[in-house]
C-alpha cells in the first residue's frame, strides 16, 4: 500500500516537472455529471470523451485514459471551494399593463435586495418573458422593452442601475407550456437573476 502511494506521488512529481496538463472531471452540483471531449493532442485532431466522474486524465497523448481521481489534494479542495456561488433566480409579476408590482411579488423584491447585498461583485440580469400571443419577433421586442422598463423601476427602489442588464427572451421560456397564441398571465413575467 505504501509502495503504491509512493509510486503515485512519484508520478505526480513527474507530471509536475514536465509541463503536462491534466483534467479532473467532477460530479456537478446537482449530483449528476457531464463530460469533456479531448479534441486535440499536441496539435493532432482526435476525439475521446471523458465521462467518468471523479476521474483524472493526463492530457497530450493520442488516447485518453481516465483513472480514478483518488483523494483531492489541498490545492484542489481550495480551488473548488473558491468557486462563486450559483446565481439565484427570482420571478416578479406586475399588475396587468402597469409597472406596479403585484402584491405577492412585493416580499420577493426585499429578498432580491438582501441577496444583492450579500454578494461581492454582484451583477443582476433582468429578463422579460411574454406569453405566446402574437408573433415571436414582436415578443422579443416587447420582452426587451418590458425588461428595460423594469430596470428603471428597480433603480427607483434602490437597486444600483450599473449592476443591471435588461434582456428580452420573448416566448422562449414559458413557465406554463402552452400552444401558440395562448394568453397566460403566469408566462408574462420578469425574471431577476442575481449573480
Amino acid at each position: 500500500m505504501s509502495a503504491r502511494l509512493g509510486a503515485a506521488a512519484g508520478l505526480g512529481l513527474l507530471l509536475a516537472s514536465c509541463g503536462g496538463s491534466s483534467l479532473m472531471l467532477l460530479p456537478d452540483e446537482a449530483g449528476g455529471h457531464g463530460a469533456v471531449a479531448v479534441l486535440e493532442a499536441n496539435g493532432k485532431p482526435m476525439e475521446a470523451v471523458v465521462s467518468e466522474p471523479d476521474s483524472r486524465t493526463k492530457l497530450g497523448s493520442a488516447s485518453a485514459s481516465p483513472r480514478p481521481m483518488g483523494k483531492m489534494n489541498a490545492d484542489e479542495v481550495a480551488l473548488l471551494s473558491g468557486m462563486p456561488p450559483p446565481a439565484r433566480s427570482y420571478t416578479l409579476y406586475f399588475v396587468e399593463g402597469t409597472t406596479e408590482l403585484a402584491p405577492e411579488s412585493r416580499p420577493v423584491l426585499d429578498e432580491i435586495k438582501e441577496e444583492i447585498a450579500r454578494r461581492p461583485g454582484v451583477d443582476v440580469e433582468v429578463t422579460g418573458h411574454t406569453d405566446t400571443v402574437g408573433k415571436a419577433e414582436d415578443n422579443d421586442v416587447l420582452s426587451q422593452q418590458r425588461a428595460e422598463e423594469i430596470v428603471g423601476v428597480l433603480a427607483t427602489v434602490g437597486i444600483d442601475r450599473s449592476l443591471m442588464t435588461a434582456v428580452g427572451r420573448g416566448e422562449r421560456d414559458l413557465r406554463v407550456p402552452t400552444m401558440d397564441n395562448v394568453e397566460n398571465p403566469l408566462n408574462r413575467r420578469v425574471e431577476i437573476l442575481v449573480r
Partner: protein, 144 residues
C-alpha cells in the same frame, strides 16, 4: 412620444455595442491577482468587468473567482496564467462560443449556457491539448 422613441434607440444601441459589453465580473480575489488587458494591469477587485482578450494572472498566493454572463463560473488557482481568447454570447437566445486558454496553473470551471448551446461551443486549450466542454464541473491543471 418622440422622447420615448429616442430613449429606446439609445438603449438599443448600448445593448448591441459589442465593444462595451461586459462578459464577466470578478467575484472575489486574494493575494497577487490581476487582469491584464493589453499593456494595462488591473487589480482583480470584486466587481471588475471582463472583456474578451483579458488575461487572468495570479501569483503564488493569488486566487480569482468570476462569473460570466452565461452563468459559467471560474475559480483560478495560484501561479496561473489564463487567457479568455473568445467569448460571444447572445443573451436572448442563450447561445454563443467561448474559448479559454490555460497557459499555466489551475482552473476549476462550472459551465453555463454556452456549453449547452451547441456541441463544443465551449472549448478550453492547454499547451498540449484542446478540450470540448460537454458539462459541467471540472478542473484543468497545467504544470510549469
Amino acid at each position: 412620444m418622440l422622447g420615448r422613441i429616442f430613449a429606446f434607440a439609445a438603449v438599443a444601441s448600448l445593448a448591441t455595442s459589442p465593444a462595451w459589453a461586459e462578459i464577466a465580473r470578478v467575484k472575489s480575489s486574494v493575494g497577487a491577482a490581476a487582469i491584464e488587458r493589453g499593456t494595462a494591469r488591473l487589480p482583480a477587485a470584486p466587481g471588475l468587468q471582463l472583456n474578451p482578450g483579458d488575461r487572468l494572472v495570479t501569483g503564488k498566493d493569488g486566487r480569482i473567482s468570476l462569473s460570466f454572463i452565461d452563468n459559467t463560473r471560474f475559480s483560478v488557482g495560484p501561479n496561473s496564467r489564463i487567457l479568455v481568447n473568445e467569448f460571444a454570447y447572445d443573451r436572448t437566445r442563450q447561445q454563443g462560443t467561448f474559448l479559454t486558454q490555460v497557459d499555466r496553473g489551475s482552473l476549476a470551471i462550472v459551465s453555463g449556457h454556452i456549453a449547452k448551446s451547441g456541441r463544443d461551443a465551449m472549448k478550453v486549450r492547454t499547451p498540449n491539448s484542446l478540450l470540448g466542454v460537454r458539462g459541467t464541473r471540472f478542473i484543468v491543471e497545467v504544470s510549469k
